[in-house]
């Protein structure tokens, strides 16, 4: 927005304004280049990031073709890890389970967080107090959340033992479907507030005029929600769903603490299987191979984030380069 928007700015149409504009233009030509920082400003962060995030990313690919017990030196073993994983029933099952958990997370969290976010964007009474409570899960670590829910849902000493009419024998995590339901519910409890915040921001940004026009046309609350709010939240929804996908694919803490991957291997998702292979069975090679699969999927999704949300086009919104 260089000269053109300067010209359209307030007070720039008259004589003195024009003079200032010409002066500024001259200023641009003569000295603005001086105020631009060089690439050196980006070096510390970039080097640090390359060393601790990008280098491990490259290494994980290398390690997936080696055999390493975590103590000695890794030795190259070609495609061994990969062929082994291909024929490993637990690996196949873990990929399935990861997809199921991810899909369940998106399907459960999206409606709840849209409704909650749109509600929080309004002007209800007591909203400040209520939303203060709503968002407390944001402050808790995944560890704390898992520990609390495990205690709350414990079949012998937790809430199920007190409410047998609701929970039956109370052993919610004793079956695969029960354990998946618990993981999905705890995931919702943990993540909905953050996504609701996203939707709250998105809903606040919807122009009021749209609602006024709809109200004049006689559209009720529900129709306004379906025909204005939801379509206007499209971009927020893309961002939010992609965050849920990446989060769902890599769910780890809750699985480790709530179910330990069990019963049996019934809730062993890929991230947890990777942890088991590498840090419990000391087979860092196949751990790396599983990790690489996670990296590839997550990278594809991140590319989608950048494309769909237009983050990479944010350059130049104020400069018009």
């Amino acid at each position: 927005m260089s000269t053109s928007s300067l010209g359209s700015g307030p007070g720039s149409g008259s004589g003195p304004g024009r003079g200032a504009r010409a002066g500024r233009r001259a200023g641009r030509r003569a000295g603005v280049g001086v105020t631009r920082p060089g690439l050196a400003w980006a070096v510390p962060a970039t080097v640090f990031f390359l060393l601790f995030a990008i280098l491990p990313l490259v290494l994980v690919a290398v390690l997936s073709f080696t055999s390493w017990d975590g103590v000695g030196a890794p030795t190259f073993n070609g495609l061994d890890n990969w062929t082994r994983l291909l024929h490993d029933p637990v690996m196949t099952q873990s990929v399935w389970l990861t997809l199921v958990l991810t899909a369940a997370g998106v399907l459960v969290q999206t409606p709840v967080s849209v409704l909650l976010g749109v509600w929080a964007a309004g002007h209800q009474r007591n909203r400040a107090v209520l939303s203060a409570v709503f968002f407390t899960p944001l402050l808790l670590s995944a560890t704390a959340i898992s520990v609390v829910w495990r205690a709350v849902l414990d079949p012998n000493f937790g809430v199920p033992s007190q409410l047998p009419w609701l929970f039956g024998d109370g052993n919610l995590m004793g079956s695969q479907s029960g354990a998946i339901a618990v993981l999905t519910f705890v995931g919702m409890w943990q993540w909905t507030p953050m996504h609701a915040l996203l939707y709250q921001g998105g809903a606040r940004a919807i122009p009021r005029v749209l609602y006024q026009a709809a109200a004049i046309d006689g559209a009720g609350k529900v129709r306004q929600f379906l025909h204005i709010t939801l379509p206007q939240l499209r971009n927020t929804m893309i961002t939010s769903v992609i965050l849920m996908l990446v989060g769902g694919l890599t769910t780890f803490d809750t699985v480790l603490i709530l179910t330990q991957g069990g019963p049996g291997t019934d809730t062993t998702n890929s991230a947890f299987y990777m942890y088991q292979q590498a840090f419990k069975s000391f087979d860092f090679g196949s751990g790396s191979a599983i990790a690489l699969v996670l990296v590839v999927v997550a990278t594809l999704i991140s590319l989608a984030v950048v494309r769909l949300s237009g983050y990479d086009k944010m350059r130049g919104t104020t400069e018009g380069l």
Partner: protein, 272 residues
């Protein structure tokens, strides 16, 4: 236009209040019970005798050391992030050319690198560097994984600074260094506070890096303490839950006093 309250949404919000409030009630009330009362009366009823013994026990079980370690990790992560991210964001917003655009893309891609995916090579790198089981070995990767989001938030804030202000400073003959300190940093305070909030929360609540990269008592952080507590003395639920409460207490105090800034920070993290 005046908006009438939406009763349906109000009802839904009360349901959510119950969903959030219920485990928090169980959590809090359980911490004031004795172990005996927890197993005999169950987690729901209001206990006959309230006790603070659980909290005292946490401290004799080494919670103080965990707490101190977590404070060190959090402060260091925030310091590193504040040291490297503002200059980076400044360069991304103001420098020209393809290189800087590529750098920005690398950080954007980094947004979706899950920590789980690189934990095996991280273990390798940290061990080779001789940092295994040292707090610094937890601090460095934690800070690195804060960078993408922090960069995104801060570049968003810095882009809102208008070109006229840069030009005015250029007319005064200001160096990039002076522009950075006198214009960019003061005007992106909102973004900076978001960055502090986000990286502090990440560091305070971090679990995977400590789990993999440390092992001894002396380098244990709170989250790891909770995990070990659960696996070692799983039956002492009141003791465990009081440690959970202690672990969230500092954040909760900040939340009470600076709710707006904190929520804004969290929104900035996801929203920008």
């Amino acid at each position: 236009m005046r908006r009438r309250p939406n009763h349906l949404a109000g009802l839904g919000s009360l349901v959510w209040l119950a969903v959030v409030g219920f485990p928090l009630y169980v959590l809090l009330i359980s911490t004031f019970r004795t172990r005996a009362s927890y197993s005999s009366e169950g987690p729901l009823s209001f206990p006959e005798h309230l006790t603070l013994q659980n909290y005292a026990d946490d401290f004799s079980n080494g919670f103080g050391q965990d707490f101190l370690n977590t404070v060190i990790v959090t402060a260091s992560v925030v310091a590193i992030v504040l040291l490297v991210v503002p200059p980076l964001a400044y360069a991304i917003v103001r420098a020209r050319g393809r290189t800087i655009a590529t750098v920005f893309r690398i950080f954007l891609l980094g947004l979706a690198i899950p920590a789980q995916a690189v934990i095996v090579p991280m273990f390798y790198v940290i061990s080779k560097a001789g940092l295994y089981d040292h707090l610094i070995g937890v601090i460095l990767p934690t800070a690195a994984f804060c960078l993408p989001v922090c960069t995104l938030v801060l570049t968003g804030a810095m882009r809102d600074i208008t070109n006229e202000l840069y030009e005015a400073m250029a007319m005064d003959g200001a160096t990039p260094w002076r522009v950075f300190w006198q214009l960019v940093v003061p005007l992106s305070r909102g973004g900076l506070s978001s960055v502090v909030v986000f990286s502090a929360l990440q560091a305070w609540n971090g679990f995977l890096f400590p789990l993999i990269l440390t092992q001894s008592e002396s380098s244990k952080v709170i989250t790891l303490g909770l995990y070990n507590f659960q696996t070692e003395h799983g039956v002492d639920v009141p003791g465990l839950l009081s440690a959970v409460v202690l672990s969230m207490l500092p954040i909760f105090i900040v939340y009470l006093f600076a709710r707006r800034a904190l929520v804004q920070g969290l929104m900035g993290v996801g929203g920008k």
